[in-house]
Amino acid sequence: MSQVTLYSVAYTLSDDLLRAVGSILPAGPRGLVTSGTAVTALALLVFGAILLAASMLNTILLIWWERKLLGRFMDRRGAMHVGYAGLLQNFADGLKLFRKNTFQPREADSLGFYFGPTAYLATSLMIFGILPISSGWNAGSLPLTLLLALTIFSFAPLFIFVSAWSSNNKYSLMGGMRSAAQMIAYEVPLLLAVVAVVIVAGSFDLTTIVYEQQNYWFWGPLVVALIVFVAGMLAEMERIPFDLPEAEAELVEGWNTEYGGMLFAFFMLADYLRALVGSILVVLLFLGGWTLPTWVPGSLTSFPLAGIVWFMVKTYLVFGLFVWVRAALPRVRTDQLLRVGWNRMIPLALLSVFLAAVLVEVRCLPVFGCVPSAGV
């Protein structure tokens, strides 16, 4: 039997479903309903629904995880009364936001005002759709997945700026401009750090990058790139200490000041979705994705869905690192932010690219072992 993939699961599901529907229909419509095209169409829908559900569930769990961790960092407990250990608290919050009235400032530009959050959430969902989570869960196994993911990831400043500008509020606009400046400044080192990984792995395909790391996680030899990547991700996700675009003390709530109700929830979900994507990218690029080194006992890697489980464990731990940073560091000023971005991060990123090139040339390092065969 070939490997079970997410799409094969969706296909089987819709095939069974349509067969069951077809069996109660007369012959004419039955042929239509059970035809290959119909099954494929439904399979694609189911596939998308599963992806959507998985991403939303993980996003909400991520918010819970952050609340619990941050609570402990602050010597308190975080959400704890709704559901076991507060697990359902965010669902309750979401329901509350869902029931709220959305309103729009009088002079706001409706098109941009509603388009901004929607597009922001939609693009964030798109990235989740193409990221491979395990050997079976890789919807977009294209040769250039990584580039595609990063491209979609960098749409965000545009939508943030559009929604901030169309809110017709000076705080929103300032937050939007800060957001754009920050994201553009950190895009460069982020991409350079990715280049270092690509040089060593020899591919833009995330699945290949993961398999290259089977016994050779890139975080060790490429630690400089990892630092730059994490810092860049923090800035891209607008998390503390780089949360200038929504610095509450200065800008009310930054670029989403004017948003309430479900539109606010869109932003919130998209923010955490991007945080999830950021953590996933760190895991994929530096921590070996869903694979564990071959010396790990087989019982740990062969149970059903082991890949997904290990992937999620790693992702949540990486997000824990982001929470740790949030708990410890104060917010930087704009000038510090941009100086650190252009003066520190870019040289460091260039250094990491250089180191990666050297690594590919040398091929073997004392502690870390040898670069996998496919290195360019």
Binding site: R72, D75, R76, R77, M80, W324, A327, A328, L329, V332
Partner: protein, 256 residues
């Protein structure tokens, strides 16, 4: 930008590593037991809970330090209240009203404080001012009610609090050494006995004064030939006598 600012920002150890280490330490500590008291289920005043925390954290939580001077609901010992009004005078929120309670005589009713907790700021001035130590603050803190009127505690209700024998805030202000005393401007006094009648500590005695001989052509004032004498050690400085005096002949001052 200051020099230190630059130094901190460009030093990754100062700016990143040290705070992260501090946060990690805090995280490790509160993984065992965060400081949060899950209030309705855990109570600081519950000895079992305190025991549990002491065992978990290895050190007792501040029963003494926090607890003794906690300022919660008042306790009033009606029996020893002398109706001096000092508590109501000292209240910055004007939440104390003196209401009549049984036990006084008809001419001289006994009045005790009634406290409106809707206004009280728990400053404790009233219990500091109470000369008899009968109005104290306890550790009771649960006042939630469904009705606003239930926030007003009558003297009887305050007495009920007193009878629960909760730990009471024992802080008493020392009487200052050189306190002002009640002085009399003798020529104005008409000997009406109002001050002596209303003095809550009964420290005023009306003593006879000699009736002067009327000189020729002079008319003696129409008055009772008595004058108040204040026993300073019993006087609680409530000022009642001054406020009841019809001729304004009593005043604060230092006896020569």
């Amino acid at each position: 930008m200051t020099e230190e600012g630059t130094a901190t920002e460009e030093n990754p150890v100062l700016y990143v590593v040290r705070p992260m280490a501090t946060a990690a330490k805090q995280f490790a500590k509160s993984l065992v037991r965060p400081s949060t008291v899950i209030y309705p289920f855990e109570r600081l005043e519950d000895p079992a809970f305190r025991e549990e925390v002491a065992v978990a954290s290895g050190k007792p939580i501040g029963v003494g330090a926090i607890w003794d001077n906690y300022r919660g609901v008042h306790a009033l010992n009606i029996a020893t209240c002398i109706s001096c009004n000092l508590c109501a005078f000292s209240c910055p929120d004007l939440c104390i009203e003196m209401v009549t309670v049984p036990g006084g005589d008809p001419k001289h009713p006994k009045k005790c404080p009634e406290i409106d907790y809707g206004k009280c700021s728990y400053c404790g001035f009233c219990s500091d001012a109470c000369p008899e130590g009968c109005l104290t603050m306890t550790t009771r803190y649960e006042l939630a009610t469904a009705k606003r009127s239930e926030m007003v505690y009558s003297p009887e209700k305050l007495y009920e609090v007193f009878r629960t024998k909760l730990p009471m805030n024992p802080i008493r202000l020392e009487r200052p050494e050189n306190e002002d005393q009640i002085l009399l401007d003798p020529p104005l006094c008409i000997g009406c006995n109002a001050c002596a009648r209303d003095c809550p500590t009964a420290c005023i005695t009306m003593l006879d004064v000699a009736k002067p001989e009327a000189k020729a052509g002079e008319k003696l004032p129409k008055r009772i030939w008595k004058e108040p004498v204040v026993n300073d050690s019993d006087c609680v400085r409530c000022g009642t006598c001054i406020s009841v005096c019809p001729k304004e002949c009593l005043f604060w001052g230092k006896r020569p």
